[in-house]
Symmetry: C2
């Protein structure tokens, strides 16, 4: 049992700068980090890339591109090309795509899903040229209207499989897929397409801001170990990234949260 594949997504400890994240991870023996564009920009892209490289850390993912359903297609493409360039600079294993919800006032869900397919096809070759893998993230249906119209892993795979595997993969995020009766079968289907595996737990009641309702591994009802095993069986050997958005967790000292996460990783995931 080791933490050799453990990755800390930086939004789990939201108040750390990239500099603090790197020094804490090095001290704790964490081999990999998941980065977000905004804190990376705040610290400096090149500076972040150099710091992470010198520290010997892997970058398991960069969050995030996407929002393909926005009306201004030109702006969407420009922003996502920038995100791809940033992922290349950071040497990230993938760029996570949150594909966007329904446009304001729209009830055309099939149309929004078609738009995701179109924009993805336009971006994939650009990502391929820069050695960046796009990672489609199916999202829990609670987010379908305002954040991500891809609701199941099967649906994400339907899109990904139309494009080369080195250009487009999928994210298996326990929070988003755990409820799906097809989850295990879809993870098996995803063999060769799993670009990222993220863990957090489902806890109820959800807070008023549903986005911040994720629990630390072990605090909720998801069989994390089982999903990790199924993901292993599908041949995924990449990092296991802990990504928890939770205001109560953010209020605690980061080093203490990290220590707890490592313990919980052994107890509930490995």
């Amino acid at each position: 049992v080791s933490i050799g594949r453990f990755s800390l997504n930086q939004r789990t400890i939201a108040n750390w700068t990239v500099g603090e994240l790197v020094s804490h991870c090095v001290r704790a023996g964490v081999p990999s980090v998941g980065l977000w564009r905004e804190p990376v920009a705040a610290y400096g892209l090149e500076r972040s890339a150099e710091l992470v490289r010198k520290a010997g850390l892997r970058v398991s993912s960069l969050c995030r591109g996407g929002f393909f359903t926005t009306a201004d297609r030109k702006a969407v493409l420009e922003d996502n090309r920038r995100a791809i360039d940033e992922a290349a600079t950071l040497g990230a294993a993938c760029l996570v795509l949150v594909v966007g919800g329904l446009p304001p006032g729209s009830t055309d869900l099939p149309g929004a899903r078609e738009q995701v397919r179109d924009v993805l096809a336009q971006l994939a070759p650009y990502a391929g040229e820069r050695g960046v893998r796009l990672a489609l993230e199916p999202m829990h249906p609670i987010f379908c209207s305002d954040r991500g119209v891809l609701s199941t892993l099967d649906q994400a795979l339907d899109l990904a499989e139309a494009l080369p595997a080195e250009q487009v993969g999928v994210v298996v995020d326990t929070y988003h897929v755990w409820w799906d009766p097809r989850a295990e079968a879809a993870i098996a289907r995803a063999a060769g397409r799993i670009a990222s595996f993220q863990v957090s737990d489902w806890v109820v009641p959800l807070p008023a801001d549903n986005l911040l309702g994720r629990g630390l591994p072990g605090d909720g009802c998801i069989d994390l170990r089982r999903l990790r095993q199924v993901t292993d069986k599908a041949g995924y050997t990449g990092d296991i990234e802990v990504e928890v958005f939770n205001e109560q967790v953010w209020a605690r000292p980061g080093a203490e949260v990290l220590e707890s996460l490592l313990r919980r990783h052994l107890e509930h995931v490995l």
Copy 2:
């Protein structure tokens, strides 16, 4: 265009007694109502049944049985047999089943789903003998952990199809199924099994109590007309029941809400 298939679920106007519900519906020309066990018990079961029958109203559904995942199997069976008896007394077209979430502390989702299958098989013949059709309600995955481990219409159909169609059908509730990429295909598959069709709309942000986040038809992002058409095409000719749980709606005068519902039914559903 007519309101001939319109049904008012009584929880949409929560402060009406069964008596008030019936008189308002008769006055407004509403031909059908969906009832709940608690207000029916408060008004009296036999008294409710007689009132509704004399008024010439149909009872499109009785809510609800279920919670099959509760540990005390004997109590579950007893309570559900009582609910079946009540549905028979009321002449309800079906008894809606909210199957229950995960038991406290459990992460065994497949086990909970198996338990639903077992209890359903035990209850179905009893329902059949009393001429009551059980209606499995797949629920939006936001409710998977604490309310309903059946998350998709396909999953509900997998269970229903193992039993006679006159004993077990499914509920198509727009709020629960709209996000599902398989929704239209699953509704087509449900031909002959649709026991109830319920409408309400998806609005964001959800309130702190997620259960009360439903919007009146037309206030949200669901293509209600499309889902109604697909349900028609699957051969469903039963009532179209409006079921909205929303504290702001409950705070308004019931007669005004009903008038608005009838208008919205024409505009957004028919």
